[in-house]
Amino acid sequence: METIQIESIMEEIRREIREKPEYREAVTFEQIPMLSQAENAAMMGEKYDEELLRQNVADMGAHFAVPYYRPIAGNRFKTFFKRVLRKLMCFLMRPALEEISSFHAMTASSMNAVANFIREQEAENQRKDRKIAELEKELSALEQQKEQAK
């Protein structure tokens, strides 16, 4: 194998680029507006994306619970302070988070059922399409036979 000095090739390419006029793009990525979730949803309209639904339903299933206790990291003073705060807020936060988690669980379960229903319907539609195609084929064969019989 011929040995090549990659760095000298890269230097040669850099030199060539310096000699060429600068490339200017019509628009930069930063100039493209970033849509909010709501604007994006409006733009997407009624577009159905199976992959997106599958991903979102899977994410919902994994993260419906909002845990009250999460390990606290940091130095001793910070951890102590955060622990005290957590203890003080417990009576208020825990029922609220439990309620939120329970609502999330119901939503996730419903979405899962909807996604499964869509999947079953799609499979059923595909099965029916195949059946229709077969029947159309049979029908055209019968029509041909009928024509020939005439």
Binding site: Y23, M43, E51, R54, A58, A62, R70, A73
Partner: protein, 359 residues
């Protein structure tokens, strides 16, 4: 002795999940009583592959818990409480800032992931990291246990399968195919690949095409912005195949002229190794774990200059001698990631951990 691997999500086809599955198979092959438990298991995976974390048995002092950390998870409470021997495989957590404005959900998971890295310090007797970059991150976070580097375990025999014939036929028309594989995510900087491609189309080859393979699941805001960018640039032949089958991915690698990666955050980057396997020359921006994974092979870009990316891509496509040299270096590097090498390394490190010699 039970060896349990625990992770937040066991997805279909992602690097972390594939690593866990490969380790599980390797452990079982070597006589260990191994199992995978996860909070979220992709429905396309069979019930034998992994079990819900709630079914995880109580682990005794002799058992081993291997936790895969790549994202925030409330499973860490379970890990901290477990009274068995504990080991972590660190795959890196994408900095949350990349997802700001695109996905509050992904942003919060990544932020939690970074907090988990801090919170889990002193929890494990031993850690493995996919790359030296990941290892350094753990050391910077103050981990004082031994942290070894062990590349992702890739069973390459899966890649020997038959590629999708239709896809091969579609892209074998003599045009230059520039490929990038990876889920659509802001840290992977698909916009910079598009930018370099637009420059390549304009200054080098107007007939080239760009294929950005990867799922857009959960990143529809980013995908829509990329679409708007492509439209504003007026660049044609940018293809998003979306969710595709494994034979289709094989076909994309088999028909690729060059693999172009402009990612700004990778903990390992399996697609680089896949490109090596399929003899596709790599042009990549040298960020995070990318230079480490390439290990001196491929062509590294030191700047995000579209002209530089386009010129280097052109050179490796047209210069046969350079192409042959790059491919030879990539084949040499690929040997370091062979299944035999990495599985032997894993077993050696794991057994040393069991003996307590590396704690």
């Amino acid at each position: 002795m039970k060896v349990v691997q625990l992770l937040q999500t066991l997805a279909f086809g992602d690097a972390v999940s594939n690593d866990a599955r490969a380790i599980d198979a390797l452990l079982k092959k070597n006589g260990y009583d191994a199992a995978i438990y996860a909070k979220e298991i992709d429905e396309r995976l069979s019930r034998d592959v992994a079990h819900p974390y709630a079914e995880m048995p109580k682990l005794g002092k002799a058992d081993v818990l291997i936790y895969h950390l790549s994202i925030g998870s409330d499973l860490i409470g379970l890990v901290q409480k477990a009274s068995c021997r504990k080991m972590m495989i660190y795959h890196n957590v994408t900095p949350a800032r990349f997802f700001t404005g695109y996905s509050d959900y992904a942003e919060s998971l990544c932020r939690l992931g970074a907090e988990d890295v801090k919170a889990l310090n002193h929890t494990f007797g031993y850690c493995q990291a996919d790359s030296d970059f990941n290892r350094q991150e753990l050391l910077d976070a103050g981990y004082d246990c031994l942290v070894d580097v062990r590349p992702i375990l890739i069973p390459f025999e899966d890649y020997a399968g038959e590629p999708d014939k239709e896809t091969v036929a579609r892209y074998s028309d003599g045009r230059t195919n520039i490929l990038f594989v990876g889920r659509l995510a802001p840290n992977k900087k698909q916009e910079d690949v598009i930018r370099a491609f637009a420059c390549y189309k304009k200054t080098v080859d107007p007939h080239a095409r760009l294929i950005l393979a990867g799922s857009a699941g959960g990143m529809d805001l980013y995908k829509n912005r990329l679409d708007a960018y492509i439209k504003a640039l007026g660049v044609e032949d940018v293809i998003f195949p979306g969710h595709i089958s494994f034979p289709q991915i094989l076909a994309l690698y088999r028909t690729a002229s060059v693999f172009l990666c402009m990612s700004e955050h990778e903990g390992f980057c399996v697609p680089l190794v896949e490109a090596m396997y399929f003899d596709v020359p790599i042009v990549a921006y040298g960020a995070c774990a990318v230079p480490g994974t390439l290990g001196g092979s491929g062509l590294l870009l030191d700047k995000k200059n579209p002209m530089l990316a386009a010129a280097v891509t052109d050179r490796v496509v047209t210069d046969g001698t350079l192409r042959a040299f790059v491919l030879e270096k990539q084949r040499q590097r690929l040997a370091d990631f062979s299944y035999e090498t990495v599985s032997a390394l894993f077993l050696r490190q794991f057994e040393t951990f069991l003996k307590g010699e590396n704690q």
